[in-house]
């Protein structure tokens, strides 16, 4: 309010703020000057002041002693399981902490699950990627041209690394799609030879080849 408080209507309109001490200093001065001269407005000011004081006093009186909020807050946080997590993950750079925690958790998971998988998965005919497990054979995917995918979990087969060359020659199928497969056969690892052997079986079976595998089933 920048207007001057010269008229009674202006002054009475300002009384709610005047009663609470919320007028600007110059405004308050102008109102006070008017009140000093106008008995009618002084009466209105008194009413405004009384009602405001009543509001404050009764409001204050109705607010009892502050209860202990911390116990309730803490109990709720514990119930939500947040007390140990949120503060740790919060704060500046928290994304770095999260990333670090995530990496650590992933590493820990790998350390636990890889050895477990190494022990459990072979029983189900599944190889662990990157592991040179003897006699572990992966499920064979379907090949282009094959009528149906053949998933043939094989039993353990001992392979002498020194006999890899003999093995590839022994397992060379006669199917028409085999040439592409065996073109790169010499470049593959010993473990992959086992997978290729299974793949070649699929080609053979898919074309009703007469060749028989030896020592497989």
């Amino acid at each position: 309010m920048n207007q001057r408080f010269e008229s009674c209507s202006d002054v009475r309109a300002a009384l709610p703020l005047w009663a609470g001490g919320d007028l600007e200093p110059d405004e308050n001065q102008a109102v006070q000057r008017h009140l000093d001269l106008c008995e009618g407005c002084r009466g209105s000011a008194e009413l405004a002041d009384v009602s405001r004081r009543e509001l404050v006093l009764q409001l204050e009186g109705s607010i009892g002693k502050t209860p202990d909020l911390w116990s309730g807050v803490r109990a709720q946080l514990i119930a939500e399981g947040e007390t140990s997590l949120a503060p740790v993950l919060a704060g500046p750079g928290s994304w770095m902490r999260r990333a670090g925690i995530g990496v650590a958790a992933a590493a820990a998971a790998l350390l636990v699950t890889v050895p477990l998988a190494d022990r459990l998965l072979p029983e189900r005919g599944v190889t662990v990627p990157g592991r040179a497990g003897v006699g572990e054979i992966a499920d064979a995917p379907s090949l282009p041209g094959a009528s149906r995918p053949v998933v043939a979990p094989m039993g353990p087969l001992a392979v002498d690394p020194g006999q890899a060359g003999d093995l590839s020659r022994r397992l060379r199928p006669l199917g028409p799609n085999s040439a592409e497969l065996w073109r790169n056969a010499e470049a593959v690892s010993l473990e992959s030879l086992e997978s290729l052997r299974l793949l070649s079986n699929e080609v053979r079976f898919g074309q009703d080849s007469q060749m028989r595998l030896t020592g497989d089933r």
Partner: protein, 245 residues
């Protein structure tokens, strides 16, 4: 300008908004200072610095630091909550919910602002939400924008429950009248009259301009006075010994 002793106390540095822990912390920090005359704003600055440090510690995982924050400011949260909602139970729930929200949002705290401002904002918003959910539907539209001219009290006394009308406690009547006001008016009055905050501080808390806050105070007090006079309580008070100026 008439000013009650209570209002004068509100505007002093050691206003009731400070908890006993805050007083102790301030005394400890000022223990080496032998001067009794401190700048008016220094205690608040020290308190703000203490709060910021506690927030940092809480962000780093110090649960005890967060507990200290709660204990330092639970008085504020309680008073604002209780000033806006009619029952102790609801007010306690509201105040606790405010601190839970503080905890969940700790990492987003902006250190450019005081913790008290942030807490007040959360509590006030929760109070406004609480009031809006429990107000009659026809009164909601009047509470949307408080700077609209022509806003008036939504409910006449005849719409209030009969047991409230018959209430003999003055405090109960005050609350009855307050309940007729829009949530924004109530929150402005509570922050101003109970907490002694300035219009500028309230403006920062509620996200409004200084002018808007002054308008809400003006309308809130005016509407309260009109209803209070309608009930004959103002005249009653004036007739009591020492009831006037």
């Amino acid at each position: 300008m008439p000013e009650t002793s209570l209002a004068r106390q509100k505007r002093s540095p050691d206003r009731p908004g400070y908890t006993s822990q805050a007083m102790t912390a301030r005394q400890d920090s000022a223990a080496q200072s032998q001067s009794e005359a401190q700048p008016e704003d220094r205690p608040e600055a020290e308190e703000a610095a203490i709060d910021h440090e506690l927030v940092r510690q809480a962000q780093a995982g110090d649960q005890e630091a967060f507990g200290r924050l709660v204990q330092r400011h639970q008085g504020r949260a309680w008073r604002v909550a209780r000033g806006m909602v009619p029952s102790d139970e609801d007010a306690q729930d509201l105040a606790q919910e405010a601190f839970l929200r503080v905890f969940r949002s700790l990492e987003r705290f902006d250190f450019k602002h005081d913790f008290t401002t942030w807490l007040y904002r959360i509590v006030t918003n929760l109070g406004i939400d609480w009031l809006r959910k429990r107000r009659p539907a026809r009164s909601l539209q009047a509470g949307l924008e408080d700077d609209e001219p022509g806003y008036d009290v939504e409910d006449e006394a005849g719409a209030l429950p009969s047991d409230a009308l018959e209430a003999s406690e003055t405090a109960g009547e005050v609350r009855d009248v307050l309940r007729t006001l829009a949530p924004h008016f109530q929150s402005a009055l509570v922050l101003r009259e109970l907490e002694g905050l300035s219009c500028a501080e309230i403006a920062e808390i509620v996200g409004a301009t200084n002018v808007t806050v002054r308008w809400r105070l003006h309308r809130g007090r005016k509407l309260f006075q009109e209803e209070w006079e309608r009930r004959g309580r103002t005249t009653e008070r004036l007739e009591q010994p020492g009831g006037g100026l």
